[in-house]
Symmetry: C2
Subunit: 341 residues, 2 copies
DNA sequence: CGAAACACGGTAAACGTTTACAGCAATGCG
DNA sequence: CGCATTGCTGTAAACGTTTACCGTGTTTCG
């Protein structure tokens, strides 16, 4: 594991200057003879270009960071799975940051952009604070934000439309005759939490249903928290006939609790999840879920960033990905396939 | 987004030399007065250390790479989720490589270690070829391999024990009275595929059951491939009463096909998966699965690598993580909770 | 009071590249 | 044949740090 060969080693062995070595390695015009000698020497020595030195000089690291709360969350995972190949194809490596939904960690990531270890950043902030906005404005490298950001923030932005998404779900439940539709939400100070809460209220209004505080329970975006919240909700409201859950994990928690309580899904209570993750298809009964296009958002973000890395001065762009309702057994067709063993 | 301040800028503003600036920033002994001036200047300028220049000089990037076939696979994801925080706590960033199980990509990753963009690598190779071994021996940075590697390969190594794992599963099925136990495996030229195939045969022997080629079907480690393989198997063998699946995705495919074919799980056919992923708990019926300790393996690998980064000259170490059988509805307790809606 | 020890701080080299510039030989042209 | 042009190559500076080494001013002690 001794120090590998450098262009100096090669230059010495090939009997040329380091400039010539560099030129050959970069495909700049050189005499055939020189090229041959350099390539031979490089080959024999097993030379590999030092990426760090290159980056220092060229001010390009060919690395991009992706920061989100938790890789374990399938929604972020879906983004990651799209982002990775797009970046790879463009010759960028991917640096992964898990912020555990801690604001300080997100700020850290933004701050660390100043270290120049990446050429750009794709971030999915859970909350957007004033500090976020300040740091975004001052960022030393291009940033793409997945999630909503105030009008005029000078960054590329990719959004889901959870408002329409919730609307699709409630329309569906309403069409199935459900009238006591609960909401199991995540924290209201998160971007998705706030959006989904507001959308729920609005969609109810559009359907002519009253907004009843009793029907809303706040937990967090995890299965365990979903269980807790749904248990509370069932205790409080007896006649609930549908649950809109703010993500699939919460919805899985809901299924657990409903099953334990002997309420049939979907006959007694219909359940809708959100994000349409792998889990939705694997669960039983399979879960109707609102797809917010995680994969598409990831891809769009990666492409925005790459584009910006090429044409640095473009206007900030906003891409909105439309939602889609994926109907499965937990609301619709009463598990013809999923019938009892 | 102009060039940020460097230690030169600070030195000029504070009226000291760049050496002093560097010393202050690195906490080396300095006069209070100097320290104050430097810190003030750094603060005012919003200085952030350039990681690239630092790395060039110090020969440390504080980055570690993790390479596996596909982040989408929950087994790798479980590793990633453990690796990330361990590295982060030690001050390392994580560079993610998806190789899509393409050997050439894995070799690329090993080769790229010569670029010095990371201090070390954790790799989960699907197949280990001669080229792998050559490159491992010549690697320019420490590597930890998760998966089996020939005796004497000079790298730290973390292994699952799928042999014992399969054994646990077959013992369990045998104890339940199953005698026609099929194997749905992945490709035999992959490390896990080969190991699980051999272990199956061996475990049958230990139980005094005959090895019947008819009962073995090879597909790939995906749900869709699992469906295909199980469909073929059911067509070929009518009296099969249990399925040992080489991973959870295959097992989910098996559940799909069995349900569609009207075979009850577990009454008619018991199903065991492998890797004990999130999906196993979420599926219906919930899936008995052999945990190969993905999370533990990830953590062990990260710790081995960190240790090696600190004491470079240690002997290579081998860590074997014991398997554990997690019994759920697909073999055991006949879905009391999971009964029909 | 003078020499030795010490505490700091500055100068410059180094890490491994890329690249502007200049030098030089070979060629084209009048 | 001399001069301009062309085509390559080498020298050296630069990217932003860290750090060995040396010089200076202050303290300590005989």
């Amino acid at each position: 594991m001794g120090q590998g060969p450098t262009i100096n080693t090669i230059a010495a062995r090939a009997g040329v200057s380091i400039a010539s070595v560099s030129r050959v390695l970069n495909g700049l015009p050189t005499r055939q003879e020189t090229e041959r000698k350099v390539m031979a020497a490089a080959e024999e020595l097993g030379y590999v270009r030092n990426a760090v030195a290159r980056s220092l000089k060229s001010r390009r690291t060919h690395q991009v960071a992706f920061a989100m709360a938790d890789v374990g969350n399938p929604a972020y995972l879906a983004m990651l799975r799209e982002i990775q190949p797009v970046l790879k194809a463009a010759g960028y490596r991917l640096v992964l940051h898990s912020t555990d939904a801690v604001v300080a960690d997100e700020i850290d990531v933004l701050h660390s952009l100043g270290e120049h270890y990446v050429d750009g950043l794709i971030m999915v902030p859970l909350r957007v604070t004033g500090t976020h906005l300040e740091m975004l404005a001052a960022a030393r490298a291009p940033v793409v934000i997945i999630g909503s950001v105030p009008e005029g923030t000078p960054v590329d932005n990719v959004r889901a439309d959870s408002r329409t998404g919730v609307r699709l779900a409630l329309d569906h439940l309403h069409a199935l005759g459900r009238r006591r539709i609960g909401l199991v939400n995540g924290p209201l100070d998160t971007v998705p939490g706030a959006a989904r809460g507001a959308a729920y209220r609005e969609a109810l209004g559009a359907l002519g249903l009253p907004y009843d505080e009793e029907l809303v329970e706040i937990g967090d975006f995890y299965r365990e928290e979903g269980r807790r919240a749904v248990a509370t909700l069932l205790d409080r409201v007896a006649d609930i006939d549908a649950l809109m859950c703010a993500n699939d994990l919460i919805a899985l928690g809901a299924l657990d609790v409903l099953r334990a309580a002997g309420r049939r899904v979907p006959q007694d209570v219909a359940v809708v999840g959100m994000d349409d993750t792998d889990l939705a298809a694997a669960s039983w009964p399979s879960l109707t879920s609102v797809s917010l296009g995680s994969a598409e958002r990831g891809r769009a973000a990666a492409e925005l960033l790459l584009d910006r890395l090429r044409h640095g001065d473009r206007e900030p762009r906003l891409v909105t990905v439309p939602p889609r309702l994926v109907v499965r057994a937990s609301t619709g067709r009463t598990g013809a396939k999923g019938s009892a063993p």
